[in-house]
Each structure stands twice: as C-alpha cells, then as structure tokens.
C-alpha cells in the first residue's frame, strides 16, 4: 500500500516535474546560487563548524558542483534535511540537488521521480567489538549479543547475514544511536553494529575509544550518492561528472595544490580532464575550465575524503572500498574523452 502510494506520488511528480524543472542548470546559473539538501548533522559528512559554516564530505561534493556550475564553491545554500523529508524536498524543487547519506537502491531510483548520479561513499554495515575479546572476524561472533538501533535496516541485515552463516546471536535494541553506544560501553552487549560511517563517530564518543576495533567484514551494501530529479538529463550529467572529475583527478594525481602546474602536463588524459583538449565543458553546458575550478577550490576525491572522514580528520576512516579501483577499492571514473 505504502509503496503504491509512493509510486503514484513519484509518478505524479515525475510527470509535472519533467517539464517544470527541466532546466535546473539554467535556474542555478540564473539564481547564482546552488541549493543543496544535506544531512542535518552527521560527523564527517555534513556539520556546521563553530561559525555555522558547513563542512563535511557531502558538503564538499555540493561545493564542487557549485564550483563547476558557478565557478565559486562558496555559492551554496545548504538546507539540512531529515531522512524522512529528503526525497520530498528534492521532488518538489525546494532543493536543486540532494547530497545526503542516502543509500542508492532500485526502488528509490525507479519509483520516486529521482535519479542517483553515482556513489560518493561506499558504506556498509559493520561490527565493533572489544579488543580484549580477541575476535578477528564476524565469523567468530557465535552466541554474541549485538547492540543495534531499533527499527532500522540494521536489524534486518543482521538477520540475513547470520542466517546465511548459520550463526546464533541475540540482538539488544535501543531507540537511538546514543543509547546503543552507552549500552555497549556498559557491557550490556559484546558487539555494536551500525554503518561503518557511524561506527567510527560512535567510537570517538566513548570513554575509551582505543579499547574497541571495527571488524573488516561489511554485511550490507550501502552505496551513498547524490540524487537529482528525473527528467533533467543535463543536470544529471553535471551531478555525475562532477563526481567523476574528482575521482579521475585523484587517479591522475591532480590535486588542489598542483592543478595549475598540471596544466603544462603532456599527459593527454590530464589535458582532457583539465579542459585543455577535447570538449569537457561545452557539451555539458559549462565553461571549459570547470574541472579546474572544482579541483582548485574543493580538491580531488582523495583530498576531500582525507580532510573530512579520512586520515586528516578525527574520524580516521580507512579508504577501504572507497580507494581507487587501481588501489584495491571500487572508486572508478569512466574515461574522459
């Protein structure tokens, strides 16, 4: 019933939206500002600093899109959204682009009148255990009690995974993440399970963060990506290729610091990436130097990752699946030519 309703709503919105907002790119250029929907507060992903300036991984993606379209990464208006209203806000045109910790799924992609434009962060559900318990892998969790947040897919993923592995376990559910962390610290359960992006932030909040480790297994696929309205292919391309340009520039070693020097590079891939050859700008409706602005003002994918969630941030996440395809991860940009 609910999905039927969602489907109808999506359809209705898709019908009205495709004509009404077919020119998001022109609108953004005309307004001179990009309206971007983000998480309201998620450590490392989107969070205002002490002066209220937004920082974080998905925030930097929005800034990259603004740099590409408007040539200025600061011309972004951030609208913090809850998971419940994020898609509605995008469908209705309240925001131009959704850069949220939203998992790309088939039903969201096909029934809501929106399209996911790629994956900027491969997340997945993981486990945190106490070092003292000497557990090296999720396979060793026989009989463990697991603290989770109630009413989320976390519980369902656990059930799926442990049934397929035929491992016995018990869950201890709590209403919110705060309570889950507290219960784990008090020893009411052996394991804490959540998406890895949350696990790292949760660990920081503990009294003794170094006593726990995150196990290597991920038991669910949670590809997080930006979303745009269906029916606006030009804007969809802008969203998609902004991300690819960031990934590609990491692959070619172009950073925010050396981008000007790289302009004299002889490597044809770099020259095409920086708009010196080929037509990366014209066909998409942007200036030829848009990738240069993205890299100069925001940085390549690796810089954005390290600064917000990786080694230069308090969260200190591993690149893991988010490493480039040639370094053991799955971040991969199609060729630019």
């Amino acid at each position: 019933m609910r999905s039927t309703f969602k489907g109808l709503l999506g359809l209705a919105i898709a019908c009205t939206a495709s004509s009404a907002w077919s020119a998001t790119l022109d609108n953004v250029k005309k307004n001179g500002v990009l309206t971007c929907g983000t998480n309201s507060a998620t450590a490392g992903f989107s969070l205002p600093d002490n002066e209220g300036k937004w920082t974080g991984f998905v925030v930097d993606y929005c800034r990259a899109v603004a740099a590409a379209v408007l040539g200025n990464a600061q011309k972004v208006k951030f609208i913090p959204l809850t998971p419940k209203d994020r898609f509605t806000a995008l469908q209705s045109g309240e925001i131009d682009i959704l850069a949220h910790n939203a998992t790309w799924t088939s039903s969201r992609d096909t029934s809501l009148g929106i399209l996911f434009a790629g994956t900027y962060f491969y997340d997945g559900q993981g486990f945190m255990v106490r070092k003292a318990d000497n557990i090296a892998s999720a396979k060793g969790l026989e009989g463990a009690s697991i603290c989770v947040t109630q009413g989320t897919t976390t519980e369902l993923n656990l059930a799926d995974y442990f049934r397929s592995q035929s491992i016995k376990y018990t869950t201890v559910g709590f209403a919110d993440e705060e309570a889950v962390v507290k219960a784990y610290e008090e020893g009411r359960c052996d394991v804490l399970s959540a998406d890895t992006s949350t696990l790292n932030a949760s660990r920081l909040r503990m009294a003794k963060p170094d006593d726990s480790i995150v196990l290597p297994e991920l038991i669910s696929k949670e590809p997080l990506g930006p979303a745009v309205r269906q029916g606006d292919d030009q804007w969809f391309n802008v969203a998609k290729w902004t991300l690819y340009v960031m990934v590609a520039s990491e692959e070619y070693g172009v950073t925010s610091k050396n981008v000007d020097a790289m302009k004299s590079s002889d490597n044809p891939s770099i020259r095409r990436l920086l708009g010196l050859e080929g037509s990366i700008g014209k066909d998409i409706g942007l200036g030829d130097d848009w990738p240069v602005e993205v890299i100069k003002q925001v940085g390549n994918y690796g810089e954005v990752f390290d600064r917000n969630v990786g080694k230069d941030s308090p969260l200190k996440m591993e690149r893991g699946m988010n490493a480039l395809w040639n370094k053991g991860g799955v971040q991969y940009a199609p060729p630019i030519r």
Partner: protein, 379 residues
Amino acid sequence: MSDQSMHSPVVSSALIPAMAPPADVWPGPVTWMKKNLFSTPSSGALTICFILLAVWLLQHFLSFAIFNAVWSGGRDSCRANGEGACWPFIAEKFDYLRYGAYPVSERWRVDLAEALAAILIVWFLWTKAPRRKVAALLFFLVYPVAAFVLVRGVAFLNLPVIDTTLWGGLLITLLMSIVGIVFSLPIGVILALGRRSELPFVKAVCVTFIEVVRGVPFITVLFMANFMMPLFVPDYLTPDRLLRPLIAIALFSSAYMAEVVRAGLQAIPKSQYEAANALGISYFSMMRLIVLPQALTIVIPSIVSTFIGLFKDTTLVAIVGIADFLRAVETARVDPSWAGPTISSTGYLFAGLVYWGFCFGMSRYSQSMERQLARGHKS
C-alpha cells in the same frame, strides 16, 4: 453618661497575662512542620522518604552540573573527566547556539535587535513603568519593522541582506515565539469575538478557521508549507522558507488563543452585556471597556500557558530544516572534535536550563500579573 463611670473607670491595675498566639496564625517552623509534614506517622515516613529522594537527586544533579564539571580546557580535559558536565564545550559553541550561521561580522545587529526587544518588553510589562502605552505601540508597530531591517538587512541602509538559511540557534527560537506571541493575541481576540458574533457569515468564517487549524497537526502544516508548497506554487510566488513557518505559527497560535479568549468571554455574565446595551454603549466600547478587560484577566493563566506551549513548540521547525536552538544543540554535540562521553548530556542539560529559564520567567510574570489584576476577585 453616669458619674460613677467617670470616677471609677474600669482599669485593671495588673498586667493581663500574655496569651498564647492563635493556633493558625504565624506558626513557628517546628509547629508548621508538625502540622504539615509529620501530622501522622505515615505522612512523616513519606516526608522523610521524599526528602531523601530529593537530596539524592539534587546531589547527583549538582555534582554533574557543578562540583565535578569541567570548567576550563578543551576536549582532552573533558574526556579525562567522565563524571561531570563539559562547560568549555558550551562556551566554544555558545555563539553557534545563539546565532547559527549568521555572519560573524554582522552579529551585532542581532544583539541590537534582541536588546531593543528586551528593553521594550520590560518597559511594557513592568506595571510601574511610565508611559507603558508608548512601549506597547513601539513594540507592536515600530519594533517589527526595526527588527526586520536590522536582522534581515536592507541594502540601501548599508546593512547587507542576510539570507534566512543562515539564521539559526536561539535567534530562530526567539523570533518564532515573539512572532507567535505578538500575532496570536490580537488575532485570537478577533477570532473569539467573531465566533460569538451574531452575523452568520463572520461566525462561519471564524468557526471554520479555528476548527480547521486546530484539527491539523502543526508538523503537517510545516511540512506542507516547506516541502510541498513549491510543487503547487510558482517560484516567484513562494515566500521565503523561514517566513512560511512564521506565518504557520502565527495562524496556529491564533486559533488556539481564540478558544482561550472565548472561555473568558463566556465567563462574563450576560447581564453585563445587557446593562451595557441598555446604557446605549456601542459594541466596540462595550468590548474594549467592559468585557475584554475582565475576560482577559480571567484567562491569564491559560494565555500564558499557551505562550509557554508555543515557545516549546517552536522546536518543531527543526523538522523542516530550520536550525532552531534545540537543533543547534543537537548539531553541536555531533562535532567529532569534541566527541566524548559527557558532551551530549552537557548539551541537553544546557538546552533544558535555557528553556526552563524562559518558561519559568513567563510563568512567574503571569502569576504576579494575576495577583495585581485579580485583587477585586480575591477570596
């Protein structure tokens, strides 16, 4: 007048012995406790239990909030002490909690607007102040314009326009509640009078408005206003995304206020209306001079409790992406550079204290107003 009484007046030559004070007047603390706390063995036992409970709670609260709290330093000193509140965290986030993302160089404008509001409110509410009517006029007519010019900005006065998506924190909470309070009382009075009107059209309009607004959850209205409205209304007709919840909150609180005022109107005996009519006093003079002053005095407790409810309801705007004070606290506590076991508790404790301070202030003021206005009715 007899001679005898003149010559031998009835005067006692000895002192009258002192009498015990009347039992119920000014009892000493021991008597008072005997009478109120330990009148029977079971009530004595309950008293002791509750005193112990109160001491236990208070001790925990004070040791967390004051005695074991961290007063200076940074994240590391807070992490080292897992027992008490981390006040340096509040100190560092204080500006964010007050202004949100409002540009630092322009924050004096918010300070000025808030100071003006405080001066006018004190002037207007302090019953002994001179020329309170001037204060009321300034507050209801001039101040909204001045505050708009100051906080939002007008380009030609050399005050850059600050986009409302940058507003946040206590600024939003105060703005929402002041708008709600300022608009709800006058509109509520008009709606209440309209609902009791004998003109069928006026009555129908007022009843419909009140019942429709009271019948819809506030969250739904906010959601419709902020996420669905752009779907139906063209871009240039859509009001600012902060203005929409402001309008919603003003209409909402008016509908509730109308019912509160109506309760007061119903408490005025019909004979007063009839007497006023018989004297040939016009409808508006009757309402202004006879009915409303009495009716509003009767419902002061309900009016203030509606205001207090409204003040706390402003936190609902967080669900449409507007960072009010509570949302700002929740955002601040997520900051990984402060992450620690006591940060969330500290944030919520601070939020609780701030809300309690405002609501308790309103409640105390209403009590003192009641005492002053209700002298005639006092039993």
